[in-house]
Symmetry: C2
Subunit: 313 residues, 2 copies
């Protein structure tokens, strides 16, 4: 059973007071270059710098009073760790964050900056899961998965809902695909708030598990993930995959050079800071220019948390 329009609408109203209605940017140069009319939804300007704030906020707001008192727990070394910490802080809830010992210091500090309580694990999936389970048992905290959670998906949907309320006639939406929580939420928004609006995912060839999952109908995994788009290394889950299977038109794969070129264009022409994962959706459009010719296309720029000392251009 897919989530309903009513559920998406409720999530939109629920998170609205706690997140930014982020700006939508356009560039005549980029439109000429691509042949499409592109509406960039700037979730890099979202609180803590990524769309993940929406899903995290919605998930916490959906908890009962008792559950809020016990706190929330997740395992993430990326944007969701910061998003859960900040939305928990904003709502007066404790957030326990399991991060691998090997996670960069700057990421731990960002979580601590938002009052997240960091627990270190080994870097294996198994070790992270076990540590999160231990915390759940000891504290009664609720586990919130970064992407494979209905409440997180519904929260993520609200970026595209905002975009479609402003520009109702978009022909297509494109998002990057990592764990699948953003593309699933966006596809729900397109289905319920768009007019014949199709949803596409952009994915690196170097971590094309979602592409393969749609081909075989079974969730696929990545053996290696040598991509600059470090937010897109994870795989789909049993909650978001059925939505993706039903509502996403196509996953478009892109080369690493295409990601870097798209990222550079965004910096040069939109004058904004985005992380490599965000550029993947734009790279997907540029690779498939013909398919989007003369179309109105919304691109969700997922986030802007990037190491500025190591830009790839």
């Amino acid at each position: 059973m897919l989530p309903t329009k009513k559920e998406v609408e409720k999530a939109y109203k629920r998170v609205k007071p706690f997140v930014h209605n982020t700006p939508v940017l356009k560039s005549s140069f980029i439109n000429e270059l691509s042949g499409a009319e592109i509406f960039f939804k700037c979730e890099n300007f979202q609180k803590m710098g990524a769309f993940k704030m929406r899903g995290a906020t919605n998930a916490i707001l959906e908890l009962s009073k008792e559950n809020r008192q016990a706190g929330v727990v997740t395992h993430s070394s990326g944007n969701f760790a910061q998003a859960l910490s900040l939305s928990a802080k904003n709502l007066g809830v404790k957030a326990f964050i399991v991060m691998p010992k090997t996670a960069p210091k700057v990421k731990k500090e960002a979580v601590l900056g938002y009052n997240g309580i960091v627990f270190e694990s080994e870097s294996t999936t198994e070790s992270r899961r076990l540590e999160a389970e231990r915390i759940q048992t000891e504290t009664g905290a609720t586990f919130i998965h970064p992407s494979n959670s209905k409440d997180v998906i519904l929260g993520n949907a609200t970026a595209a809902v905002e975009l479609l309320k402003k520009h109702p006639n978009l022909d297509a939406l494109i998002t990057p695909v990592g764990g699948g929580g953003l593309v699933a939420g966006t596809a729900l928004a397109a289905e319920f708030f768009g007019v014949n609006c199709k949803t596409f995912g952009g994915e690196p060839f170097a971590a094309d598990d979602a592409f393969r999952s749609l081909q075989t109908g079974e969730i696929a995994f990545n053996k290696t993930t040598n991509t600059i788009a470090d937010g897109l290394k994870t795989h789909l889950g049993d909650i978001n995959f059925p939505i993706i299977k039903k509502l996403v038109s196509e996953i478009i794969r892109v080369e690493e050079e295409e990601i870097v070129a798209a990222m550079k264009l965004i910096y040069e022409r939109l004058k904004i800071v985005v992380e490599p994962s965000s550029a993947v959706a734009f790279a997907a459009l540029l690779r498939n220019k013909k398919a989007f010719q003369n179309k109105k296309v919304g691109i969700i720029l997922s986030g802007g948390n990037v190491d500025l000392a190591n830009l790839p251009f």
Copy 2:
């Protein structure tokens, strides 16, 4: 005689259809850090990437039909060269741009990309001036100075007018100071559209001609200009200086490290691309935190044309 409120209003209505009403960004992190409430007016998102588009557009729109047919000419290797080229292109006018032979290739290409007609000169002020005069004589084109022109100043004023229309209760406005055209225009906007709104200029210690000009009452020049803020190396002129003398409260000088630190904060927290000159106004506020404590401050982020391969952090 200062320009009048009516003249600023007319310039605002005149350029409005031809420029972006650029977004205003805020950051709770930056507000906490500074103790002020800061409204960043994002002229880096302006057409061709800088506020200069406003002054150039206004100056061309003020020309008679005959003068428009003969074209416009300026000498600039920076943003004004691009601004005059693009606004001339948009209005069906020819733009002759005198650039020193030594100007970076990328800057010449940017001008050519906007249909500007480039003439090369030696890099001395004298050689640039003579070449511009030659073009005027031969083509009948009207010379438009990048900063020391009433029409350019009135056009530049419109960025602050937009900001004050949105946020009428600002206590202060800060801009970077190079040739003086932006700070003069902004001071006019503050005087006519603000409520006790003071105007400040930010300037590098390494090119503090405006600071010295205000001290002595005579236009001062820079012997050396070793600053990263390459848009701020020029000096004031006889048209903008009287406005600055009358209406600008103070020129705040900043060190190079302060410019880089302010620039980094803008990239990291606002997630936008600005050129070093833009960061100078913000650096001025951070250096003088006490003076702006609990004030509402508008900062004009002047532009976003920067060599991304050589960011200073």
